[in-house]
Amino acid sequence: METSTMTYVPSADDLEVITREVWMSFLDGDPAGLVAGGSALGEDRVTGCIQLSGMYVGAIMLELAPAAAQAAAAALFGMAPGDVGPVEVADAVGEITNMVGGNVKSMLPGPSTLSLPAVVYGQLTLPGVQMVRRAELTWRGQPLAVSLWRQGG
């Protein structure tokens, strides 16, 4: 049986730094665009999730206020926010989650593999996993959060 003694878990600051790097590379070149803290997410949100299996079993979630998700898709595709539909939002949030999740995975014990990203409108519940870290951020006045989850506890 495998036993884990000293498992490093990325901090909330690590999640924030990773998210900021992804945002600056692909969505918003302004270093001051994404800021820590801000208002809490409401129940109405878009959630991207990518699951990890292997040495680390858990998930990484990116939750965005609907306006932030729409703005992210618009920024990625070079579209006006009003022209962005649910298909574009799901595609963009899924791949942004993939990039954030892949970077978080690189800080976790391995080897482990990532699932394909899933995107839902609303909150996502994953049975048997518990949140271990969460970074809350604000982009263009809209809240978003990145969280790391682990199976068991």
Partner: protein, 120 residues
């Protein structure tokens, strides 16, 4: 030079294009295809100098697409950009004629390492 990016996710094609620009390949023409059929059509219109292709795609997979274009006589440099890159996948990719396999999450530096020998 013309770089053809093949991925069923438009978001990932945009992320790859942004990474190409960040890596300094902004002077190249970057064209997008959402599947192997669209890629083949674009190749017939104007031959690319490099193809960056997803591994998992609905319909024709990236590996099958590579096999098909090699069977048709295309020798265009070809690389995969994938979510996972196991040693077995790398072995299959290289055996099929790919030059490299870039795993997500990638950086502009990863692209430079893989692409400079091809595009220099």
């Amino acid at each position: 030079m013309r770089i053809l990016v093949v991925d069923d996710s438009r978001a990932m094609r945009m992320i790859i294009e942004r990474t190409l620009v960040l890596a300094g390949y902004d002077s190249h023409e970057i064209v997008h295809a959402g599947d192997a059929a669209e890629a083949a059509r674009l190749m017939a219109e104007a031959p690319p100098d490099l193809i960056l292709c997803d591994w998992n795609m609905p319909g024709t997979s990236g590996l099958d697409f590579l096999a098909a274009i090699r069977a048709a006589g295309w020798s265009v440099p070809f690389g995969f950009v994938t979510s996972e890159a196991s040693p077995a996948m790398r072995e299959k990719a290289l055996a099929a004629g790919a030059l490299f396999l870039i795993a997500k999450p990638f950086t502009p530096h990863d692209f430079q390492e893989a692409l400079d020998p091809v595009l220099a």
